[in-house]
Point group: D2
Chain length 375, copies 4
C-alpha cells in the first residue's frame, strides 16, 4: 500500500500517520520527493494459509487512512483476491462434468476443448425444450441451457416455470445426454436446483448477491458466475473469490456484456475481458454473445470473436421459433442459424489450436423418432 | 407500440406482421412514409384493475416482434410501470413514520419537510453507535442509519454484527427517539429486520434481487430502495413497481450515484434523477451524497445540491472517528462537519420553500450524562 | 511515481529497472513487501520555473516503464498539471470582464458574485436575438450567450450564421450592456471571434482540439472551456493547462454533463465536479444545466443545485419561442421560465453566502421602446 | 417520426401539434390508444438527390416538437444518415490504394483481403521508423502507420516531428513499398499531409471536429475515421456522412475502443461495432486493438477477435524497443510479437473465408543490407 500525501501536508501529519500505522501493526517508509511525500506501507504476514488480510493489510485500514489529515490518496498495491488468482495458482482449472453417453467421459471446461452450451432463454414447455435440445445436440452442443427461474426487469413479465422447468431439463438431460446449466436466484432454492443441474448459473443481477454466493460456495457443483452489468474485472473476480472461499473451487466466469452509453446493442460485449481474465486467473471463461449483444445478427460474429480471443466455451440462446419466445426472442438464434454457426466455431477453434467438444452422433438407445413431446 | 420496418421490407413481411398481431389480439395500423413504413400497434384493455399488460400489450410480444423478418426496431410508447407512476397517481405519496418523543407525530417523508437521516455506515459497537446517534440527533437528524448486515465487495471485509447490530439500533431508537433505517440483504432476514427497523433499506447491489423485492413488498413497513449502480431511471422505477405490486405502497427511492468513467469520485451522483423522479412518480426521493461521491470533502456540497434540486430527504454517513471506521471511513463526515452542515441544509430548504424536519431539543426524561455506553 | 512489480518478478528484472531509471536520471527505491516489491521513483527537479516535467519525471518515461519485464503497474503520484492547480496557486482566479453601463465595473467571474449567462443556443436572426437579449437582461442576466458557429452532429443541420451572427451579438452588447460569450470552433476563426466576443467558448467536442487550445491560449481574452462529453476531471484540467501554458490565465471551466448509460436525460450533469474542481484548481467553474440535462423541466432544479454546490456562474439557454428554435428547442427555457428562475437562483446564492451579479435596471440612454428589430 | 403524447394531454394540445406540423409542411396521423395518443408524422420528399432533410423532416423540427405542450417524446424513425448507409448503397465500398512494387496493384480495403497496417505510434527518428517499417513489412504488413502530428492529453508531452516526420514516412514508403497512414489534426495541415500520406487518419479526439471533416471531405484521398471515445455508432456514421457529403467517398471506419467504467484496460474495445457497422454501412471497418485495449498482452487476442468478427483490416502499434518509445510504449507490440501474430491473423482470416493481403518478399532493387539509417 502506498500513501500519497498532499503537497501541503505538514511534518506533524506524517508523524501522525506513522503512529497510526504502528498502532495497526504496519510499518511506514516515507520518501520525500521533489514535490510530494509518499509513504510505502508494509504489512505483517497473515496467519498461515489464511487470506483474511491482503498483503498483510486489512481493507478497512486502507479506507480509514484515506480519511486522515494530509492524505491525498491511498494506492493499493496487492491484488485484493487470492484464491482465484493465477499468481497463487498458476495451473489452469479444468472443470470435469460427467455427461450421459459421452465417450470422452463428459465435458472438461477450461481444457483445450471449447464447450458449446446452447438452448432457449427460458424453459417454456416440454415441446419447446425437447425440440431445441434435440436440435442443438445434433448440431454439436454438449450442454443445454434453459431458465426455470427467470429474473425479469418488469414484475409483469413471465418469471419461469420453477421446479416444473427443472424437471423438463432433467428429462432433456436423460434423453439427449447433455449437461444442464440453469440459473438459481436465491439461497433457499440452491439445494433444489442442485438436484437437477450440472452447472449452477449465477445471473448478472446477482453477481453481488453475497448470501447467494456463500450458498453456492458450500455446494459440490460447478458454478457459472456471470459478470454484473457494470462490474469491473476486479469486482467480478472478488465475487468469484466469495465462492472459492467457501470451499467450492469449480467456478467458471461468463462475460455477457457490460452497460455502456451505446444504444444500438443491449450491452457492449467486453471481449478483452476474456484474455485478461485468463492472465489474472486460473478459472475458465465463457462468452455469452446472446446477452452480450442482444441482437440475433451479431451473435455469430461475436461467438467467433470470443473463441478467437481465447474463450473456453460459449453460451448461446437458440429457440425453435424466436418470434414466439416468451423472453429474449430478439437475441435467440434460429436452429438453422445455430447449425450454420457450429462449424464456423470449429474452424476458429482449430485456428487457435483448440478444438470444439462435440457430442457423438445420436444413436441407439436414443431413437429420436420415438420421442413424443408434450406441450 | 410502434414497429419501424426496414426500408427493404416487402409487402409480404408487413402482411405477416399484421397477422402476427391479430393472433395476439392486437391491431396494427401501417403508415407508409417517404422511405419507411411504420406500424402503430394498439392493444386491448387489460382486465379491469390489473396492470399485467402495459398499454394492453404483453412485454414478451414486443420482444418477439423484434425478431420478425423486415422489422428494424420496436419502439415502446407506454411506460412499462403503473403503480409508481405520477400519471396514474397524481398526488405525492407521504410516508408517515412514528418516532418516540416526537411532538409532530413523527416523520412525514415526501411532505414539505426535508428529512435528515444520518449515522455510521456500519454498526460497530454500542459505544460507536450511541455516541454517533446522540451527536447526530442533537445536530438535527431525526432518523438514524446504521448497517447490521453489510454487503462487501471482498469476502475478507467486515460483514456486520447481524442481529446484535439490530439490537443496538433498537436501543438507540429508544434512547434518543429516532427512527431507524437499516439494510436487509436476503428474503429470509426480512422478518427479523422488520422487528427492529422503521425503514427497510434495499441496497444498490440488491435493486434487482427480485425475490427480496417481493418479500419486502409483502410487509407493512416503509422501504427505501437504492438505485442500482448502473440502473436506468426506468429500471429503478420497475424495481419499485415490484414492491408496490405486492401491496406495499410505502416506498421511497434513494439516489446514491451511478457508475461512470470518472475515477476521482466513487460514483457520479445523478442529481438530475431527483427532479426527474418527482416528475415521473409520486414516491419520495432521498439523496445519499456519501455513496454518491465517496469523498468527505464533497458530501456537504452535494447534500445542498440535492435539497436545492428537490430531494425529500438526505442519507448521510457520520462517524465519531472516521479514521477508525470499519467501512467507508473516507466518505463519513465527522460529527463537527455534520453539525456545520445541518444549518446549511436548513437555509437551502427555506430557499426552496421547504423546511427541515428537526428533532426537538433533547430533554428529560433523556439525560445524556447518565447514559453509560458499552464497547 | 511508484512501480508495482509482479509477484513473479525476478531480482534481475528489478536490477534492470533500476538501471533504466538511472539512465533517465531518476532514482529508484525498492521496498520488498510480504508478497510484492514496489519501487518508489524520485525525479530530478526540472529547470527552474518550467513545468515540462511532472514531479521531475517525463510522462513518456512512465509509459515506457509499463512495458518493462516484471512490471505490473506504474502509479502516478504527482498531479500531471501545474498551472491550473490550487496547490501551486492557492488564491482563486477572478476574471474581470468590463461591461458597458455596468456600475460595478463589469463582471468578476470567480468572485462571491454568481454570474448568470443566458441566451439562445444559436443566433438565428436579429429579432430573435434582440428580443431574447432584452428579456434575459431585464430578468437579471449580465452575459449573453448565442452561437454564431455551431457544431452539429448531422451535416444536414443548421451550422450557424457565422460572422453575421457575431455582428448581431455585438449589436446586442452595445444596446443592452451585456458581456458576450460565443463559441469558436477552429484556430483560423479565433482572431475573428475575438473582435466581437468578451468570452471565447470552447465546446465539449473541441475540449481536446489541441491546436485550438493553443490558439486561444495566445489571446488576451477570457476563455470558457466546456468539459468534453467523456472527459475525466484530470483530462479537463489538462486541457485547461494547455491554454494557461500558452500564457492565457483567464480560463473558466464549464460542466455541461457527461455521457453515461442513462437514456432519459441527454447527459448526466456531474454536479460533484463543481466542488471537486474548486478543491483542485483556482479557476472559476460554471454550470450549464441546459446541456447537462437536455430537458427544459430539469433546467431550473439543476441550475439551483449547481449554485448550491458552489458554481461561480450559470450558462442557460433561453429562447423567446422554443418550439421555433433552430437548435436545442427541447432544452431552452421560455422567457417566463427564466424570469421565474432568477429570483430562485438569488435565494440559493444567499443561502450559501453569495450573491447574484445582477444588472442595473435598464434606463436612458437605452430606450427599449425605440429599438426596432430586423428579422 | 412518431410523437408520443403524455397521458394527460388535451385535445387542444393535439390540435396545436397538428397545426404546427402543417405549418412545417408535414402531415400528422393521430392514433388514440388505450392509454396514450401517438401521432405518426410523414414528411414531404426532399429536393431530388438532396439529403438535406431526413425522411423529409428537418432535424430542428423534431427537436422543436419535443418542446411543445403535451408532448412526452419524439421518436425518430428514419436513420439520420444516407450516403454512408447500406440501405441506399447495398454494395460494399472497396478502397484501392496503389502501393509501389505491389504485384496485386496495391491494397483493396473492404475486399476479401484483410489489410494489416502496423508501425510505431509516433515517428521518433529515421532509425526507429526505418527499422520498424522494414520489420513489419517483412512480417507481412502492407501499410505503415506512424504519427507526425500527435494529440497528447498533456501539453508537456511530445507532440510529434511535424513535416520532418512526414518526410521520413515518405522515405519508408519509397524504400519498402508500403502505403502510409498518418494523422492530420487541423484543417490547415490537410494539404500538407496529403502530399505524403496514402490514407489520412482522423483521430478519436477529432471525430467531431467538423471543419476538419469538411476539409478532408474535399480531398481525393482515402480517410480513416476513428471512433470518438464516447461516440455512439450513429454519431460515428454521421461524422463519416460529413466527409461523404463533401464528395469524398473513400472513407473507412476504425474501432479503437470506447470509454467505459472498466479501469484495467485503457478503453473497452467494442468488437460488436464491427459486424454492426457492416450491417448498417457499405464502408470498410478496421480494428485497432492497440488503443482498444492499451495493454500489449491483449493486443494479439483482440486482433484475432476483430478479424473473426469481420474486420477488413487491423491497425497495430509496433515498436522496435517499446520501453524507449516516446508514446504508447505499454501498448506497442515488439517486433517478435508482431511476427508471431501475423500467421495467426492469417489462420483466422482463412477460417472466415478471407485472406490476408501480404506483401511480396522483399527483393532487389531493395537491398536491406545496404540501407544505412540515420538517427
Amino acid at each position: 500500500m502506498i500513501i500519497v500525501m498532499q503537497a501541503s501536508c505538514t511534518d506533524d501529519d506524517i508523524t501522525k500517520i506513522l503512529a497510526f500505522l504502528e498502532a495497526h501493526h504496519l510499518t511506514g517508509h516515507p520518501s520525500h520527493g521533489v514535490e510530494q511525500t509518499v509513504i510505502g506501507v508494509l504489512g505483517a504476514p497473515g496467519p498461515s494459509g489464511s487470506p483474511t488480510s491482503i498483503g498483510g493489510i486489512n481493507p478497512a485500514t486502507a479506507e480509514a487512512l484515506e480519511g486522515l489529515r494530509g492524505v491525498e490518496r491511498v494506492l493499493a498495491v496487492s491484488k485484493p483476491y487470492k484464491l482465484v488468482s493465477r499468481e497463487f495458482h498458476p495451473d489452469r482449472t479444468i472443470i470435469d462434468i460427467p455427461v450421459p453417453f459421452s465417450p470422452e467421459g463428459g465435458l472438461h471446461i477450461g481444457s483445450d476443448q471449447v464447450v458449446v452450451m446452447a438452448g432457449p432463454c427460458t424453459v417454456e414447455s416440454e415441446k419447446q425444450l425437447m425440440l431445441t435440445a434435440e436440435a442443438v445436440r445434433k448440431a454439436g452442443a454438449t450442454c443445454l441451457r434453459g431458465g426455470a427461474f427467470k429474473p425479469s426487469t418488469s414484475p409483469y413479465s413471465f418469471r419461469g416455470l420453477g421446479e416444473e422447468g427443472l424437471k423438463l431439463l432433467a428429462k432433456a438431460r436423460a434423453t439427449f445426454g447433455m449437461a444442464i446449466i440453469t440459473e438459481v436466484m436465491t439461497p433457499t432454492d440452491v439445494s433444489l436446483v442442485c438436484q437437477y443441474a450440472d452447472i449452477l448459473q449465477i445471473g448478472a443481477r446477482n453477481m453481488q448477491n453475497y448470501m447467494l454466493l456463500d450458498e453456492v460456495g458450500r455446494q459440490h457443483k460447478p458454478v457459472m458466475l456471470k459478470r454484473g452489468m457494470s462490474a469491473t474485472i476486479e469486482e467480478w473476480l472478488l465475487a468469484a473469490e466469495y465462492i472459492l472461499s467457501q470451499g467450492n473451487k469449480q467456478v467458471m466466469l461468463c462475460e455477457r456484456g457490460i452497460r455502456t452509453f451505446e444504444k444500438m446493442t443491449r450491452n457492449t460485449q467486453d471481449i478483452s475481458a476474456i484474455p485478461l481474465i485468463k492472465h489474472l486467473s486460473h478459472l475458465p471463461v465463457i462468452g455469452d454473445p446472446s446477452h452480450g449483444t442482444g441482437r440475433r445478427d451479431l451473435v455469430s460474429p461475436l461467438a467467433l470473436a470470443a473463441v478467437a480471443a481465447g474463450a473456453d466455451g460459449l453460451l448461446i440462446e437458440v429457440h425453435p421459433n424466436p418470434s414466439e419466445a416468451l423472453k429474449d426472442g430478439a437475441q435467440s438464434l434460429t436452429i438453422e442459424q445455430f447449425q450454420d454457426l457450429v462449424p464456423q466455431i470449429q474452424r476458429i477453434a482449430l485456428a487457435v489450436n483448440r478444438d470444439v467438444a462435440l457430442t457423438p452422433p445420436l444413436h441407439a438407445p436414443i431413437s429420436m423418432k420415438e420421442i413424443v413431446y408434450g406441450n
